[in-house]
Each structure stands twice: as C-alpha cells, then as structure tokens.
Symmetry: C2
Subunit: 239 residues, 2 copies
DNA sequence: ACGTACATCTCGAAA
DNA sequence: TTTCGAGGTGTACGT
C-alpha cells in the first residue's frame, strides 16, 4: 500500500478528478454519499435516494452497499468499464459491459467522501473444509464409506455429467459417490440419481449401479427421495 | 448522511477510537490496510499479508475485499458481533457469531485508512425481470403457455415441495409449471420431475400429470432429460 | 431454528 | 463462449 487519497464532502469536480486519476493508475476507488442507482441488463432495478457506499475495483467490478446486508444492493461484475463524470452538477458513475449488455448508473446528489487506494495483494486464500477435502479424505481411506469400497476414478464423465468418485464395492459392483460438504436436500439426490441412471444406461451391465450420497446429513425429504430411487446415504464430514 | 470521520495512516489507537465510537452510534466503518485474515466456522481459511478493504456494517455484517473480484475474500453475515481492539500494537478486528459458531479475525500490520459514515437508507430496491414477474405474466395471459391452459393455484404444496403454477389444460388434465427466469440446466428438470412424480402418486388419477418447464431456453442435456421423463418445455421470458 | 427454492447469484474448470 | 456444479453461497419465506 503506497498512496491513499481522501476527500471529504468534495465538489463533484474534485471527486471526479480524484476518481479519474485513481482509475487510470489502477487504484481502488470508494465513494460515499446520497445517490440513486439504476440498473438494466439481465434484470432491471431502480433505487431511490439514499446513503450508500460505492466501490470501484481496478478489475472492473463495481459494488453498491447500503448499511444493511452482506450482499451489495446493486453491482457489476469484474470486466466492466467504469466511467465517472459530472452531469448537471452531479457526480455520475456509469459501469457497463457487453455479453450480456448491462449497465449500472449511480447518480450522486451529494458526495460525502471520495477516496483512492493503491492496494496490492499477491496472497491466495487457503480454504479447508471444502468438498475437495472430503474427496481427499475418502480417497485416503475408502473404508470410511464402506468396507471394501475401491475408488477407480474421480470426475468420471457420464452423459449426465461428471461423477465425484467412481469405483466398485467389495462384490465388484459399480458404485458411485456424490459428495457434499454440508447437509443436503432433494437437489443432491436428483443429481446422484441422474448419474446412476446415465451409467445404468451406458454400461447396461447385468447388475445395477449403486449410488451413495456422502454428506454430513440429509433432510427428511431427501432421505425419502433416496429410498424411492434405491439410493444410499453415508454420513461423513470434510476433515 | 450527516457525519463523516476519516483518518489517514492513523496510529492503531486512533483507528481503534474512531471505530469504537462509530460502532457505538451505528455507523458504517471502513478500514484499509495491510492485514492478515483468519476464518473458522463452517469451513476454515487463512489469508497471508496483503492490502484489503474491510467494511463493518451496523447490522453486524463484515466484508473483506481485495482488489479483485465481485465477492469478498472473507466475510461474516449480518447479526455478528464486531469487536475492534489493539493487540501487540496491531489493530485487530474480530467478528463472531453462534449457530453456527464462526469467527473472523483481521489483524492489520498497517492501517492506511479508517473511516466512519453515518449512512441512512430508507429506500427499497425495485427489481423487475424476476421469476415472480414471469409468474404474473403467465397468470395475466395463460395462453402464452398453451391455448386453454387454466391456472388454478400458485405455490401449491406437494409432498415434494411447492409447485410454481398448478392448473389444468384444455382437456382438464392436471398440468403444472416450473418457472425459471433464465436458461436452465438439468437441475430444473429434476425439480419439475419431482413435483410431477409426487402429484402422480398423490392424485393417482387415471391420467398422468403434465409437467411443463417454462423458461427462456434450455441446455441440450436438460432438453434430453425432459424427453426422457416425458416433460415439456415452453419458451417464455420475464417481461 | 430448519427446510426449500430463488438469485442480475459468483466463481472456476472443462469442453 | 457455453455448460456445469460448488459455494463458508446469501436471501426471503415458509413451518
């Protein structure tokens, strides 16, 4: 972090100057003030006058945050073109992209705060407790699923998509696993069912394919669906 | 928007003082600087030293943004308890919650910027182009789905969940619609299939229930699944 | 509090 | 570019 520039209650022209320079040098820009927000693209939205925090990232992302909620009230994804201007005496931020055609317009009635930050971040997030970790755990110790289970492949392709773990049970019967890092509902059962059906059709072996849902737990409805489809469940958590 | 407080490259003690006062009066706090981030809860993550933008909202949400991406690299949902302190000469932000037990720790090596904003926002977002809008469009003009289609209920409950639109076709045959605001994949077909199966079993009428997926378009695999399950597709977009 | 499904979901990987 | 599934998904609305 080298430079930090800050303006409090700036004239629109001064805020524009700061934002323009910051964007040119790839800095992160924040603007706070009373504004309206209009969005049009995959959907369309309109937001009346209120105090919000606007963040413009050097990668083209734009975020409009209110005082509530984890999610921005409006946004634009990375890769957008930001343009800041003064129109009719008001600071205006416009962020656009194509494919799909989308535009976000923030019009400030008053700018309470404008800032630019030269941030640099080379670190990657190290995350554990994911589905990939659960997969590794099972590959390390397949007996956690079932004594005699032998993994043969991961991400094996079927006409319905890729199976998390493909293998066979102690009797040599084809057995596939669908892994979930957390408690699952009916959707995961549907997913596993599609893979089993696809393999049943593809392999047309004399014995049916076994499908096992591996997750910490399942909802009642999911358990019922598993029974209907002749699928199984094994309780297991990511390490 | 009334008060804006700003500090550039403050001492940790000064940053702490600003953040504490701001949190007490329900202001939005932002901190920018070089920091590490540790998270533990549903999963666990670790992030090495780098420049980030931290936002603490009065509703208890916390967001840690890097210079890239629309999503925060770490976060905490609304309802958390924030605590700011100085530990071993470093500014430390800790955000925790229970159910589930989760904690987020941000330790600043240097604070480049600290600010507090008294934001107020009474406006609600007006959003169009949602699934609800598609539903209204169909209820207004059911013939868009099929000549003679008659909606009888929305959100009708089945053992497998609530059906978007429940009705009957021109022959009096029970017909249910699953609506999606955008192009759909296999998951939506599975959803519709579950509802149709549940109603088939529940009503055990002499004729089978018709299931129609209503969306702008479907993927190849979804179309194939529809055919396999004897389900139908009608192309329709939200207004 | 849990369950269920929507979302301008976002994000990454693979075809 | 599209498709597909994961995600600490979040969010609203049920029960």
């Amino acid at each position: 972090m080298t430079a930090v520039e800050t303006l409090t209650y700036p004239d629109p022209a001064d805020a524009l100057e700061l934002a323009s320079r910051a964007a040119d040098r790839g800095a992160l820009v924040t603007l706070v003030g009373s504004c309206t927000v209009e969005y049009e693209g995959r959907a369309a939205s309109s937001l009346g006058l209120g105090d919000r925090h606007v963040m413009l990232k050097p990668d083209g992302a734009a975020l409009v945050h209110t005082d509530e909620g984890q999610q921005p009230v409006n946004w634009q994804p990375p890769g957008c073109e930001h343009s800041v201007s003064v129109d009719d005496g008001s600071l205006v931020v416009r962020s656009t992209r194509s494919t799909p055609e989308e535009s976000l317009d923030v019009v400030f009635e008053t700018v309470a705060h404008a800032a630019a930050f030269d941030v640099s971040d080379s670190e990657d997030l190290a995350l554990t407790g994911t589905e990939a970790d659960l997969k590794d755990r099972i590959l390390d110790e397949p007996a956690l699923v079932e004594s005699g289970f032998t993994p043969l492949a991961t991400e094996r392709e079927t006409p319905a998509g890729a199976v998390d773990i493909y293998g066979e049970d102690t009797d040599g019967r084809t057995t596939i696993l669908e892994l979930k890092r957390r408690r699952v509902g009916p959707d995961a059962v549907g997913q596993l069912g599609r893979y089993v059906d696809a393999l049943d059709r593809d392999l047309h072996a004399d014995t049916e394919v076994r499908g096992i849902l591996v997750a910490p737990s399942v909802t009642d409805r999911a358990r019922q669906l598993l029974a209907e489809k002749g699928l199984e469940f094994v309780s297991l958590e990511p390490p």
